[in-house]
C-alpha cells in the first residue's frame, strides 16, 4: 500500500474529526489535524482499520481541552484599530452622510416618520411631567392634606368640600395639625371698580377666595408686597397676584386701592402676590380676608348653621405634625358628625386627602387622572416604537443595495463591530435630524396643546435639565433601537455571498416579519378609526337626539344678583314686549342642566329613598320648553310651592303604575317647608347628559328658587332680539353684567370631555395612519425592488399593467384585511365598554366597521399607487436587460 491519497472509506472517523475541529484550540488546529491524519494513515497501513480508528480516537481525546490549554498567541498578527476610534468615527459619519445624501427619498421618509413620532413623544413627555409636577413645590407637602367628605347613602358620593366650620373646630379641639387653613372660593364673580360715578364691570371667572392667613404659611405662594401674617387679618382686605393687579389697576400702585365684589362688599388691597405658577390647582388669583365671609354669605360664616350642608368651594387644608398618622385624624372625625349633625343619618365621613393626590383624583374633582397620563405615555411609547419598526423595515429593505459595499469592506479587513458602528452612526444622523425637526415642531405645536389641555406649559431647553436629559436619552434610545437590527443584519453578511450577489430576502429577515409589523400598525390604526367613528356617532346622537323638550332658540339669561320679585315681574313683562321674543319662563334651571337641587322628599308622609331633583319654574315652563303632560294639568301661577308636577320616572320609583293614580298625592319637600299635592305628570325628559339616568323630578312654583329667564326667540332675528333683551335687562340691573347662554350650547357642554377625547383620538388615528402608511410604503418599495424581474417576465409574457398592479393590490388588501380581523374585535370590545358609560347610547353597527376598513383601504391604495404604478409600467426591456 502506498501512502498517497486514501480511498474514501479510509478517512479518519468522522465524529472524532468533527470533535477535534470543534474543540481543539484554533491556532494549532491545522497542524494537529494534519499530524493526526498522517498518523491515522500510518496506523491504518501498519495495523489495520480498527486499530487506526481506535488510536485516532484516543489521540483526538488526548488533544482536547482540558488536556491542552488554549494558548496565548505569542504576538498578534495584525493590530485592529478600535471600532470607536476617533478616526473611525469620522469615517462612519462621512460614509453615513454620503449614503443619506444618495438616498434622499429614503432619508426623507425616515426623518419624517421619526420626527413625527418624536414630536408626539416630546409633547407627551412635557405634558406628563407638567402634570406630575402639580403642587409639588410647597414645603412639607408630604404632611399636607385636604379634608374631604365621603357621603354614604345608597351609594357613596365624594365631595372635595367639608362643612365650613369644620376647620375652625379641628384647629381648636385637636393638636394633630400644625396649621389649618380654610379657603372658600366663589367663582364667576362680578368685580367692579368705582371712580365717582364711573363704574367698570369685570366678570372674574375664577372669582375670589375667602382665605385664612395660615393658608399662605402652608402654601408656597410668596408675597411681593405686604405681610402675609397681617394682610388678610382684617375684614374687607384683599391680596391679589401681580397679574391681577395689572389687570385692574394698570401701572398704578395697587396697595390701598379698592374694588367691589358683586356691588355689595368693598375690599382694600393690602398685598401683592407673586404670580401663581402654572403647575398649581389654585386658579383664583384674588384672595380676600376670611372675616369678610360674614358679609358675603352669613350661612357659610355661621359656626353652627354651617354644619347643615356642604357648599362647593369650601376647602380645608391641614398640615399635620410630624408623626401624626392619617388614621389618627380620621378617627376623631366621626365625633363631629355626632355632635353637630345629630339629626342626619351619619351620611358624612370626613377623610384626609394627601396634597399630592388632589390633582389626580377625579372623585374629588382632580383635573387629570394618573391613569390617563399613563395611557398617554403608552401612546407616546407606541408611536416611537412604530416609527422605529418602520425604520427597521425600510433599512432592511435597503440592505440588499448595500450588500456589495459590506462585502468589499469585509474583504478589506473591516470587522463586524466596525460595520455595526457604521450603520448605527447612519441611524444616529437620521435620529439627530429627526430630533431637531421634532423639537421645532413641538415648539410650534405647544400652543395648540396648551389650548387643548387648558394649560400654560413651556418648552425651555436651557432651563429644564430633565427635559434635556429626556431629549438625549430619546435620541440615544431611538438610535439603538432602530439601528441595531439593520446594523447587525448588514454587518453579519458573509462577504463571499454578498459579493457574488447571492443574498436574498431570506438573509435580511423574512417578508413575514415585515408583514406582521405592517399588520400590527394597521390593526392599531383601525382600532382608532373605529373608536373615532363610534365616538362621533354617539356624540351626534347625544347632541341631536330628542331630549323630550325643545332646546332650539331658547336662551337662558341669569337674573341679576340684586333682583327682587318686582324687578323680576317687570323684566318679564318688558321681555315679552320685545319683538322676536316668543315666550318667557322664569325658572331655576333649564330642563337639562348641570345645576340641580336634590332632595329626599316624602310622599303622603312616607319617606323616599331616592334623590329627587326639584325644579322650580313658573306656569310658562312647560309651554316654553315644549314639555308634555301625561296626566293632570299644568301648574297654577303662584309664588310658592302650591302644587307639584312630577315626571314619569318619579312615579316609576314609587311603583305607581298609572299617571292618574299619582294625582292628588301629597309631597313634602325641603324638610317639610314645601308641602303640596301632585296636580300633573310630565312625560320624561332628559335632565342631564346621556351618561345619567333620568332623575325623578318634581316641578313647582317656588319663586325664591328662580334664577334664570328662559326666553324662546324667533330665530330669524335672534341678534337684534338679544340686543333688546340686554337693554331691557340692564335697565333693571344697571350695575350688573349681562350674560346669556343658549340651551343647546349648554347641553353640548355636557360632552366636553367626550369632545376632547374625540379630538385626541382623531389626532392619534391620523398619526397612526400616517406612520402605518410610511411602513406600507417601505414594504411596497421593498416588494417592487424584489419583483423587478418577475414583473418584466410577466409583461413579456403578456400581462397587462392592471394585472401587475393587482399583484401589489392583493398583497396590501390581504395585510389590511388581516389587520381588520384583529382590530374589529378589539375595537368592538373597547367601544362597547365605552358606550356602557352612557345610559343612553347608540349601538355598534356594521357600517362603522365597513367605513373603517374602507377608509383604510383607500388611504393605503393611495399610498402605494405611485410605487406600484411605477413598478408595473417599467419597460421590460430595461428590467430584464441586466443580469
Amino acid at each position: 500500500m502506498n501512502r498517497s491519497p486514501q480511498p474514501r472509506n479510509d478517512r479518519p472517523p468522522r465524529f472524532a474529526h468533527w470533535l477535534l475541529t470543534r474543540l481543539h484550540p484554533e491556532n494549532t488546529l491545522e497542524e494537529v489535524e494534519g499530524d493526526l491524519a498522517e498518523l491515522y494513515d500510518y496506523w491504518h497501513h501498519r495495523a489495520g482499520r480498527t486499530q487506526a480508528i481506535l488510536r485516532y480516537a484516543l489521540n483526538v481525546l488526548s488533544v482536547l481541552p482540558p488536556f491542552v490549554r488554549r494558548r496565548k498567541q505569542v504576538k498578534q498578527q495584525y493590530e485592529q484599530p478600535s471600532s470607536i476610534h476617533p478616526v473611525m468615527i469620522r469615517n462612519y459619519l462621512k460614509i453615513a452622510f454620503r449614503n443619506l445624501q444618495r438616498n434622499k427619498g429614503y432619508t426623507l421618509i425616515n426623518v419624517a416618520g421619526l420626527a413625527l413620532s418624536m414630536t408626539c413623544g416630546i409633547l407627551i413627555f412635557t405634558l406628563v411631567s407638567h402634570h406630575l409636577s402639580y403642587d409639588n413645590f410647597h414645603a412639607n407637602a408630604d404632611r399636607m392634606y385636604r379634608i374631604v367628605t365621603e357621603m354614604h347613602r345608597d351609594n357613596i358620593g365624594y365631595n372635595h368640600s367639608v362643612p365650613s366650620p369644620l376647620g375652625k373646630h379641628f384647629r381648636d379641639d385637636y393638636t394633630f395639625a400644625e396649621k389649618v387653613a380654610r379657603i372658600i372660593s366663589a367663582d364667576d364673580q362680578l368685580i367692579t371698580l368705582r371712580n365717582g360715578a364711573d363704574i367698570k364691570k369685570i366678570k372674574e371667572e375664577e372669582g375670589v377666595a375667602f382665605t385664612e392667613p395660615e393658608f399662605f404659611d402652608m402654601f408656597n405662594f410668596p408675597l411681593l408686597e405686604g405681610d402675609k401674617k397681617t394682610a388678610l387679618l382684617e375684614p374687607n382686605t384683599a391680596i391679589m397676584t401681580e397679574r391681577m393687579a395689572k389687570k385692574y389697576f394698570g401701572d398704578e400702585n395697587p396697595i390701598g386701592k379698592t374694588f367691589w365684589l358683586n356691588n355689595r362688599i368693598v375690599f382694600r388691597v393690602t398685598g401683592i402676590l407673586k404670580d401663581l405658577p402654572d403647575n398649581t390647582d389654585r386658579k383664583n388669583e384674588i384672595f380676600v380676608s376670611y372675616p369678610t365671609l360674614k358679609a358675603y354669605d352669613s350661612w357659610l360664616a355661621n359656626d353652627i348653621d354651617g354644619w347643615g350642608g356642604i357648599r362647593d368651594g369650601v376647602e380645608c387644608y391641614v398640615q399635620l405634625r410630624p408623626g401624626v398618622s392619617v388614621a389618627q385624624v380620621e378617627g376623631v372625625m366621626p365625633a363631629y358628625v355626632k355632635k353637630y349633625r345629630p339629626t342626619s343619618k351619619n351620611v358624612h365621613h370626613y377623610k384626609l386627602q394627601p396634597l399630592a393626590d388632589i390633582h389626580f383624583n377625579a372623585q374629588y374633582g382632580g383635573v387629570m387622572e394618573k391613569k390617563n397620563l399613563w395611557v398617554l405615555a403608552i401612546i407616546g411609547l407606541f408611536l416611537l416604537g412604530t416609527a422605529c419598526v418602520n425604520f427597521i423595515n425600510l433599512a432592511t429593505a435597503q440592505a440588499l443595495k448595500r450588500a456589495k459595499e459590506v462585502g468589499v469592506r469585509k474583504v478589506l479587513g473591516g470587522l463586524k463591530g466596525q460595520l455595526f458602528w457604521q450603520f448605527i452612526s447612519e441611524t444616529g444622523l437620521i435620529t439627530i435630524v429627526g430630533v431637531i425637526v421634532a423639537l421645532g415642531m413641538a415648539v410650534l405645536m405647544l400652543p395648540v396643546v396648551n389650548a387643548f389641555f387648558h394649560s400654560q406649559m413651556t418648552l425651555n431647553l436651557f432651563q429644564n435639565s430633565r427635559f434635556v436629559l429626556f431629549i438625549v436619552a430619546l435620541g440615544v434610545a431611538i438610535t439603538f433601537f432602530a439601528g441595531s437590527y439593520p446594523g447587525l443584519i448588514l454587518a453579519g453578511f458573509k462577504p463571499v455571498v454578498a459579493l457574488k450577489g447571492k443574498l436574498s430576502q431570506q438573509h435580511i429577515g423574512g417578508f413575514n416579519t415585515r408583514r406582521t409589523l405592517i399588520i400590527a400598525q394597521f390593526a392599531i390604526s383601525q382600532v382608532l378609526i373605529i373608536g373615532m367613528l363610534v365616538i362621533m356617532y354617539q356624540m351626534r346622537y347625544a347632541k341631536q337626539a330628542d331630549l323630550g323638550f325643545d332646546r332650539a332658540a331658547i336662551v337662558m339669561v341669569p337674573m341679576g344678583d340684586d333682583s327682587t320679585h318686582t324687578k323680576m315681574n317687570t323684566l318679564r313683562n318688558e321681555l315679552l314686549r320685545i319683538k322676536g321674543v316668543e315666550k318667557v319662563s322664569i325658572c331655576y334651571a333649564a330642563p337639562a342642566s348641570t345645576n340641580s337641587w336634590g332632595n329626599f322628599v316624602k310622599v303622603d308622609n312616607e319617606e323616599t329613598n331616592f334623590r329627587t331633583s326639584i325644579k322650580s319654574a313658573d306656569d310658562q315652563y312647560l309651554s316654553t320648553f315644549g314639555l308634555e303632560l301625561a296626566a293632570g294639568k299644568n301648574l297654577f301661577p303662584a309664588d310658592s310651592a302650591r302644587e307639584f308636577l312630577v315626571n314619569e320616572t318619579f312615579l316609576r320609583k314609587l311603583n305607581i303604575k298609572s299617571p292618574e293614580a299619582a294625582l292628588g298625592k301629597l309631597i313634602s319637600a325641603n324638610g317639610g317647608t314645601m308641602v303640596a299635592p301632585i296636580v300633573g305628570v310630565v312625560k320624561d325628559f332628559h335632565d342631564a347628559s346621556f351618561h345619567q339616568e333620568i332623575s325623578p323630578i318634581i316641578l313647582t312654583t317656588n319663586k325664591s328658587d328662580y334664577s334664570d329667564y328662559a326666553i324662546k326667540l324667533n330665530v330669524a332675528q335672534a341678534k337684534t332680539t338679544l340686543a333688546a333683551i340686554e337693554k331691557a335687562w340692564l335697565e333693571q340691573h344697571p350695575d350688573q353684567l349681562f350674560a346669556y347662554q343658549f340651551v343647546d350650547e349648554s347641553i353640548a357642554k355636557f360632552y366636553e370631555t367626550e369632545d376632547r377625547i374625540l379630538q385626541l383620538v382623531e389626532f392619534f388615528s391620523l398619526i397612526a395612519i400616517f406612520i402605518g402608511c410610511l411602513g406600507l410604503y417601505g414594504l411596497m418599495s421593498f416588494m417592487a425592488a424584489q419583483k423587478t424581474k418577475e414583473i418584466g417576465i410577466r409583461k413579456v409574457l403578456g400581462s397587462s399593467v392592471s394585472q401587475i398592479l393587482w399583484i401589489f393590490g392583493k398583497e396590501f388588501s390581504r395585510l389590511i384585511g388581516l389587520a381588520f380581523l384583529i382590530a374589529a374585535p378589539i375595537a368592538w370590545w373597547a367601544m362597547t365598554n365605552w358606550l356602557q358609560g352612557f345610559q343612553f347610547h347608540v349601538q355598534m353597527e356594521a357600517w362603522i366597521f365597513l367605513a373603517a376598513i374602507g377608509s383604510t383601504l383607500l388611504i393605503a391604495a393611495l399610498t402605494i399607487a405611485y410605487q406600484a404604478t411605477r413598478a408595473a409600467s417599467v419597460n421590460p426591456v430595461k428590467s430584464l436587460r441586466s443580469e
Binding site: S4, T28, E31, E38, L39, D41, S62, F67, R71
Partner: protein, 112 residues
C-alpha cells in the same frame, strides 16, 4: 539570565529536533522519539511539549506549504533557536562536569 529548566522529556524532544536531518514536524519527531527511546509515546504529549518549548523560546516554528498527503493541511516545522542550543549545551556541560566528578574506579566498585 536565569537558566531555563529543562525536563527530561523536553530535553529528549529538543535533542530529537536538533538531531533531525530534514525539517522536523509533529509526526517525524514522534517517530524518532519512539525509535530512540523505545517508549510508546502519545501524539498529544509530543505536541504539548513542542508548544511548551516554543513558548519557552527554545524552538521556533514556521508553517510549511500545503501538501497533498494529509488532506491539504500544512505542517508546522520546528527548528532549534539559539536559546535552545545554549540550553542543550548547558545541560551537556552540567552532565559532563558531573561525569568528570565521579571518582575513577567507583563504578567498578559498585559493579555496574
Amino acid at each position: 539570565m536565569r537558566r531555563a529548566f529543562l525536563g527530561e522529556f523536553e530535553e529528549i524532544v529538543l535533542l530529537v529536533v536538533a538531531a533531525c536531518p530534514a525539517e522536523a514536524y509533529g509526526v517525524t519527531i514522534w517517530e524518532d522519539l519512539q525509535q530512540q527511546t523505545g517508549r510508546s509515546i502519545t501524539m498529544s504529549a509530543v505536541h504539548a511539549t513542542l508548544y511548551r518549548l516554543e513558548e519557552k523560546g527554545f524552538l521556533s516554528s514556521t508553517m510549511g506549504g500545503a501538501t497533498a498527503e494529509r488532506g491539504g493541511r500544512r505542517k508546522r516545522f520546528f527548528t532549534l533557536t539559539a536559546l535552545g542550543v545554549r540550553a542543550l549545551n548547558d545541560v551537556q556541560q552540567v552532565r559532563s562536569r558531573l561525569w568528570q566528578a565521579i571518582p575513577p574506579g567507583k563504578f567498578q566498585l559498585i559493579g555496574g
